[in-house]
Subunit: 184 residues, 2 copies
């Protein structure tokens, strides 16, 4: 089981978290010789707006597809940070946005506060693509799939005409992820 890696994207509906999860799962299953499960699981609380999307990647077939010991979580809202941080492992890595998550009283694991929103605003001109920035960060710090695989998977899922925009978002993510690696 040691090769199993659990990812959780958390935020609100409309931020593209499911798509980010699908792209990560595609990269592992289609472009690398791995097994992948992408799941979104929610109950009546979804009406509140909180949403999570999970991906498990493993060299072996995945018997239990629910994330229970999260290795990498990214949070794009305060509510989802509070709600979904519980299953993060003690040495798991949590990435949260500096502007969107400010109350860290429920923090668990190793927490890194990053400038995702600020980078999107300044370098992309809008907040569309925050999900892809988050995706780039998780790929960079986990090394679960290669940069090449995630780029290919991204290009297959992105609407025509938005390839460059999304590639730029992914590269912002790589850069932010690298900052964490350099500081570890």
């Amino acid at each position: 089981m040691s090769d199993r890696i659990e990812f959780r994207f958390s935020g609100s509906g409309g931020q593209g978290l499911i798509l980010a999860g699908i792209i990560l799962a595609d990269a592992a299953a289609i472009y690398e010789n791995k097994n992948a499960v992408q799941t979104q699981s929610y109950g009546p609380e979804a009406r509140g707006g909180s949403s999570k999307s999970e991906v498990i990647i493993s060299d072996a077939p995945i018997e239990y597809p629910k994330a229970t010991k999260v290795d990498y979580m990214v949070s794009l809202t305060q509510e989802s940070f509070n709600k979904y941080i519980n299953d993060v492992k003690d040495d798991g890595i949590v990435i949260a946005d500096k502007e969107l998550v400010t109350d860290l009283s429920k923090a668990k694991g190793k927490l890194y506060m990053l400038d995702m929103v600020k980078s999107a605003r300044e370098e992309l001109g809008k907040l569309l693509g925050l999900n892809i920035i988050a995706l780039g960060i998780l790929v960079e710090i986990s090394g679960a799939v290669s940069r090449d695989s995630i780029e290919k998977a991204l290009m297959k899922r992105v609407p025509k005409g938005f390839e460059d925009y999304n590639k730029k978002a992914l590269e912002i993510g790589f850069r932010l992820g690298k900052e964490i690696k350099n500081n570890k």
Copy 2:
């Protein structure tokens, strides 16, 4: 556990099966007071092109999110029909397209052959929306969520400008599903 309903959309990548699953899960979790899990699970065989997307809907929280006793399966390719029919319950319902699935030697459960492709071609003018036709069929025959909920969920996930097209596809699905109900 008797209120747990398992759905499986199967076909090939690019047919929009994940989206169909997401819309069904949204309808249950956001527009009705239910729990829902949407999963896609695949391994290295995904490179072959087969793909499945599963949804579990339940009144109770869903502990095990993988479909193991499929109540309703729809198949949009021969390969996925062969590959994913195994977990269908003995009294489960399998919907396959008359043109896309012709070898029924592996059939299981109660099989219904429908004119999804033909209806799309004749009534929509193209095959885009086959996933939504399949969605309409499963909603109609299962009654797991209301027509109203699935329409709302669909409208939230559909790209701007494609609302009417998708609504028409959904209604074709309702009609085909109703034919099954009338023949049972």
